[in-house]
Amino acid sequence: MKEKILAVLRSISPRLADRAIRAKQLASPTSVKSRIHRVALLEARVETLTEQVRELREEIDESRRDALRVAELTDIVEHRLSTPKES
């Protein structure tokens, strides 16, 4: 029956028939499973990358804070060394 419908469809529009065949293939249980699997892999990948971006951002923040800490410590030391000791 399906073959007959397809044959009629091909006689009307060969391109439409090809599209119907491709659509059927995409909708096959194996193909759906494969797509679900691919989406799951992608989601896991996005999650991993998001976590890596978060970690990198924290490391950048930490490194930038080091510049501030270096300045504060340098200032404390320089100021102490340049202040005459009270007798």
Binding site: I60, D61, R64, A67, L68, A71, E72, D75, I76, E78
Partner: protein, 517 residues
């Protein structure tokens, strides 16, 4: 119009860039319609900071910010008061919602002399910077007012100056700024450090109230061709748009300005800078905020809140401001007459109690209004306490405190009542380092902490914040500290609601040297 919102006919505001809301003839709020068009129903909620003032009767008007054209008006009665609504501070000066969403004074509501006084201070600061080869130039609302109107903008509230540093590394920029701070303070100027690239010079009246501010920002170019001027400016701009400086005129006075002021104004505001938008809000990109906050710090986290909190006097403060149970506990556990440092003294109830019970007390806070209240309370109690304005978010100031403690021949004890849960985590780390230092020198540390948030917890109000015990213990452990003898206070309904904890903090067994934090 209700206590929660006002409704403006969208047709009235159509094709307007900005509208001002006037209450009894005074601008209290401006809405930037370019950034935030009116909703279709025309309903705008009152800003949270303005809402508490809306109790009484008033003539409310909506006018065009640029032309002053009256667009709508209505007599209203809000709340229960029979008085006319007055959006004023404790000195009767009219306030308006500022760009931070807080109530602030502006030149429009101030007496005439203020502009001249502030410009005199600005002139002095320009001379100071030029004498140190710091290349000063006017920025922000001051530059905008000069370029657009030749005058100080009515909705502005301070004067803004920057200097173009020759440094590019954040550490070098900070060191240069530290030196500038010292030199300004040596001249008797009150300086508030917002970051290592932003100082605020505070000028007071003879009675000690704030008269005005001048901001001093650091500007610098980076190799990537960006102009940087924390806290907001970061964007591409050719150096030729900056130097050699041009001259702009403000209230008839000449000031150095970027070579092409228009380019700087586009980077700071946007292409609409020529349109008057009193309600314009700076939207600093997250990436810029992160970069500047980490490079240059954020030293005054919530200080504005505490300044307002303590401005109105002791009578209006909540019960926790009068709680002395931390002081009583400390007094019962250390030698009488010892030296005690009350960190974050607030209104000074603990400091006054300890002083009147014979302790040698140093009261520390970063809020001048808090120290002023403490001073008044001490006078009333005939108590003697050393007052120390010190910002625990500032590592250098905290180091100075440690240095003083180390010089003491006898152990110093520390009280931190409702301090730890009301700080940012970076500032709290400084306090925990101070605790460790005190503990190593043989001192006792007592803390009072709310461990459950207030029902109306909000970011705007640190007194509603809390610190959960378990994460706090982990934080302490990373500094080689432990929480000991914790007990939940139960005397008041507030104690139950906030599960307020009284505890000691001491060196963890086996970690006398503490961790490397």
């Amino acid at each position: 119009m209700t206590n929660n919102h006002l409704k403006i006919d969208p047709a009235v505001a159509a094709e307007r860039a900005s509208i001002d809301i006037l209450i009894n003839g005074h601008r209290v709020w401006s809405v930037d319609l370019l950034s935030e068009p009116l909703p279709k129903d025309g309903v705008k909620e009152w800003p949270a900071a303005l809402a508490p003032f809306l109790d009484g009767h008033a003539e409310v008007m909506v006018v065009d910010s640029a032309t002053g054209e009256e667009l709508a008006g209505q007599s209203v009665r809000l709340g229960t008061s029979q008085s006319a609504i007055a959006v004023v501070d404790h000195q009767g000066r009219w306030l308006a919602v500022n760009k931070w969403g807080r109530m602030g004074k502006s030149f429009a509501g101030a007496e005439e002399g203020l502009r001249d006084r502030l410009l005199d201070h600005l002139d002095d600061l320009v001379v100071f910077c030029e004498s140190r080869n710091l290349r000063p130039f006017v920025v922000g609302g001051t530059l905008l007012g000069a370029v657009r109107e030749g005058k100080i903008l009515g909705h502005d509230d301070d004067a803004d100056l920057a200097y173009l540093s020759r440094h590019t590394h954040p550490s070098d920029l900070a060191l240069e700024n530290f030196q500038i701070e010292r030199e300004l303070e040596a001249r008797g100027i009150e300086v508030v450090r917002h970051s290592t690239a932003h100082l605020q010079l505070t000028f007071r009246t003879s009675s000690g109230k704030v008269d005005g501010y001048v901001d001093l920002f650091t500007a610098f170019f980076r190799d990537d061709g960006t102009i940087n001027q924390p806290f907001h400016v970061r964007g591409p701009m050719p150096e030729a748009s900056m130097v050699p400086f041009s001259t702009v005129t403000l209230e008839g006075r000449p000031y150095p300005a970027p070579a092409v002021p228009e380019d700087w104004l586009v980077v700071n505001y946007d292409e609409n800078w020529r349109t008057p938008l009193p309600g314009y809000k700076l939207h600093t990109p997250q990436a810029t905020q992160r970069r500047f906050r980490n490079w240059f710090g954020s030293y005054n986290f919530q200080r504005d809140f505490w300044e307002e909190h303590y401005e109105s006097g002791v009578a209006t403060l909540p019960s926790d401001a009068h709680d002395v149970r931390g002081a009583e506990y400390l007094a019962a556990h250390v030698t009488g007459g010892s030296r005690v440092v009350d960190l974050g003294c607030g209104a000074g109830s603990n400091a006054a109690w300890l002083a009147t019970h014979g302790f040698d007390v140093t009261a520390v806070d970063y809020s001048p209004n808090a120290l002023s209240l403490t001073c008044n309370r001490l006078g009333a109690n005939d108590a003697d306490v050393s007052l120390l304005r010190l910002n625990l978010n500032d590592f250098r100031q905290y180091a100075e405190l440690l240095h003083q403690l180390a010089d003491e021949p006898r152990p110093t004890h520390v009280l931190a009542s409702h301090l730890l849960e009301r700080m940012g985590h970076l500032g709290r780390y400084n306090v925990l380092r101070a605790f460790r230092h005190v503990a190593r020198l043989g001192g006792t540390v007592v803390a009072v902490i709310d461990t459950v948030p207030a029902p109306d917890v909000s970011f705007r109000d640190p007194s509603t914040w809390h610190l959960e015990v378990s994460p706090f213990k982990n934080e302490l452990a990373s500094f080689g500290l432990s929480l000991i003898r914790p007990r939940l206070l139960t005397a008041t309904p507030r104690d139950h609601q906030r599960r307020t904890l009284l505890c000691e903090i001491a060196l963890s067994p086996g970690s006398v040297k503490g961790s490397a934090q």
